[in-house]
Symmetry: C4
Subunit: 280 residues, 4 copies
Amino acid sequence: MANFGGHAIPGTFFLLYGFWLTVKHVLQHYWRTSQPKGRQVMPPFFKRMDYAEGGVKIFASFVGIMVEQFVVDGPHARLYDRENTSWVKLMNWQHSTMYLFFGISGMALIASTAVRAVPLGVDRLALSFALFIEGFLFMYHVHGRQPLDAHIHTLLLFAVFAGSAGTMLEVFIRNNLILELFRADMFILQGSWFYQIGVVLYPLTGDKWDLNQHDNMMFVTMCFAWHLALSLFLVSCTAFLVWFTTTRFSEKGRDIEIGMRIASSKTSSQKALLEESDEE
Amino acid sequence: MANFGGHAIPGTFFLLYGFWLTVKHVLQHYWRTSQPKGRQVMPPFFKRMDYAEGGVKIFASFVGIMVEQFVVDGPHARLYDRENTSWVKLMNWQHSTMYLFFGISGMALIASTAVRAVPLGVDRLALSFALFIEGFLFMYHVHGRQPLDAHIHTLLLFAVFAGSAGTMLEVFIRNNLILELFRADMFILQGSWFYQIGVVLYPLTGDKWDLNQHDNMMFVTMCFAWHLALSLFLVSCTAFLVWFTTTRFSEKGRDIEIGMRIASSKTSSQKALLEESDEE
Amino acid sequence: MANFGGHAIPGTFFLLYGFWLTVKHVLQHYWRTSQPKGRQVMPPFFKRMDYAEGGVKIFASFVGIMVEQFVVDGPHARLYDRENTSWVKLMNWQHSTMYLFFGISGMALIASTAVRAVPLGVDRLALSFALFIEGFLFMYHVHGRQPLDAHIHTLLLFAVFAGSAGTMLEVFIRNNLILELFRADMFILQGSWFYQIGVVLYPLTGDKWDLNQHDNMMFVTMCFAWHLALSLFLVSCTAFLVWFTTTRFSEKGRDIEIGMRIASSKTSSQKALLEESDEE
Amino acid sequence: MANFGGHAIPGTFFLLYGFWLTVKHVLQHYWRTSQPKGRQVMPPFFKRMDYAEGGVKIFASFVGIMVEQFVVDGPHARLYDRENTSWVKLMNWQHSTMYLFFGISGMALIASTAVRAVPLGVDRLALSFALFIEGFLFMYHVHGRQPLDAHIHTLLLFAVFAGSAGTMLEVFIRNNLILELFRADMFILQGSWFYQIGVVLYPLTGDKWDLNQHDNMMFVTMCFAWHLALSLFLVSCTAFLVWFTTTRFSEKGRDIEIGMRIASSKTSSQKALLEESDEE
């Protein structure tokens, strides 16, 4: 992974996952707030979204582990080299471990969606663990590197551990849109910061950054704040777009629904429905 | 900003903002506790206060960014100097970044006041982010300075991060007067501490402080506790004054209101209203 | 304070305060659980306890400040010595500052008991601040001392900050006996640890402890755990005694009450009352 | 304890305790969710489980303390050696202290099960204290050891303090299966990590690990993540097995129960019961 591509690929995945989470949770929130209090059973559409998300996570983690193990200079599933009495390619093994935990979080998502006996929040706990393990391994990873290299990875840890803490909170505080979008935002921030790490450590243009200059560290710190601002902007825009589109479509849908009901039976419930649509 | 004025100006802003928050939240609390449970819709007066607050924040942030960029020795919106291969005036860029996040918190306040679909608490989250970014940038700012300079800025971080944590809590615990006044208090503490930093690092009288003396650090630590006591005193007095004035005025107002109601229709609800005013 | 007595006096105060809190909160808890749900207004007896506690706190803090300032070798309210350009007796000033905050917490307790408009929890917030400031000043106090001296004060911080955090939680979680007894326990632990500090740093028997020996630090760490066990034992015994005594007395009282009621009017409510007393 | 067995014995205890907790809490959860809302009194079976758990804890702690004190090279209850002016076998005293707190948590469990006046959550608070003291003593234990030895014990602290924090949360959030299984998981993780420490520091095969090699530390960090994954797997499997078995058995039981009720009285409540069993 010690090249630009090795940072761009996970960055892209995290970015996409962040956007997916934004869309999913805004849709769920719209559904929650627009339903009358009586019918609170999630429609099967949301279940299918969760199955898809879990499946993609498991698949991507599996592919990630395979690639880390069986690339040309990978460990090929060998952990210890008895001849040289040394560990084989620990970096690849560490990345495999990170993928493993994201795979576990995918399994937890599918299990908690499919099986009613699995307590609510298990999926969030598993995701929180996955982020924690990612941060935990990165943390001990960073020792003894050059200052800027260490610093830029330390900044990544802010996004990772904040995401882990926020997701842990979601185990207890369910259906809170702010927490859900915070999670999405931390994934987007993480994704865009992976790109930034790639740009700084493996610049495409050839000009190498001085990894010991104090001004570079000051800039990178500030740059992290800009990435945060950018990620907030992206999440807000996406959420607005999804909300706007959904409201438009569902208003049309509801007009039709109401129309049909009026046609079939002019009951008193019709008034309540009209009032409901006025409120929004 | 490396002079007394550069610390007095933000200090004044933070002080004024702290007092504004105290007044606003005591008024809101009075309104919340004095309303009968039926009519819980915020009167438009409070909405207008929030619009004003958000507008001032956005405007002040914009002015702040412009000043930091286009003062005589500012970076003039240039970030990197290719000739000297060095960053241009990173300090001014960092301050601009801090202002940017306070501007964002102003936008979030206006958005969450104006648009019903924006979830409650987004304004607090944005303010918490603004304080976090302020503390985050200051934290990495401080490395390698002289002991007293580093220490006095570290103490500022207590006020900043405590404010950020308290504001984050408000995302989940709404309408809690203690948390709201805690936030106001942390802004006042921050403001008065900015003045203290100015006094210590750029004394107006000419006697320079010894930035390496251990006793000076001990004094400054204690002085921070005194500022906290002072800020608690100021918030309490302001809150008392606002509460006292409001109670006086609204009692008169209610007497008139009740009088009119009695005149127009002697209903049974009158008794309830009288009992209610007795209770307070 | 640099002698055994200077540690024994605050230690005694904290111990007594811890026991007082245990008694007070067990009584309040008994009252809360034994009342039928209808009458939830605190009896005036508890109000008087809080007034007394607040008054003693303010008085003791005032005396403490006076003593620290006007003992023979105290600063006599002089802060800065212009002749020697040095601060005067900062240690005494720091202790005065700590007392000041405990005085403030006393005022907050009286204010929140007497004035209904003061929001619930202000007294806990002020006490949490007092403990925080105590720990905060001790923390920066400790730098540059000999290892065992620094370590034994660092251990004190565990009790102080744990107490502060627990008391802060009580702002939000009211009437939770466990949190209330935790607070009492931390005060008792603090008090007994003050004695331990006195014994180690200013031994009465003359044998000085080696302040650099690693084994002494190991022992002191373990000793802190023993103090915790002791404080838990003391709080449990006190709580049990208070509960046992109260139950005994109030059962007698209630039998008489019920007896009188039966005599005056044999109503159906009598049965409910009897059932209630059976349940306990 | 400086040998493999000295790590395997506590490891085995923690592993067994983790599995016991998993079984106990899944059974309790099953019971909670399957009961109709009316009858919420815990059946005596669960009380007996808690008595047994508390009794075993007290007994095991007592035996542990005795062994630590009276093994051949133990301190034999002597704390200070006046002749050599040194502490006697502080390591054994520290382990005794840890056992003492687990014994206290056993007493708290029995007290809170047997006596109704003991507030709910006291058992969790005491267990949280026991874990905290374990971590607290280990923390100061580790100073000045060789890098790998220090690191492998530091990793243990993650499991210990996470367990302590989660158990503390349970004082406030009762009957949350996720928190309960988290606690069980942290005990299993701790237990298996004790084995790992034994394997690394006192290898059975003779090949000593190089305690200064950086790669060994990287491997051990990753290995901790694998132990976490393993513990999650073990808890999930155990929980699934217990749930599956219980559902099977209780379905049979309920069918019989329903059958008898139908036979004795064909009431309308029968329909409700059938619906209830359909739902699961």
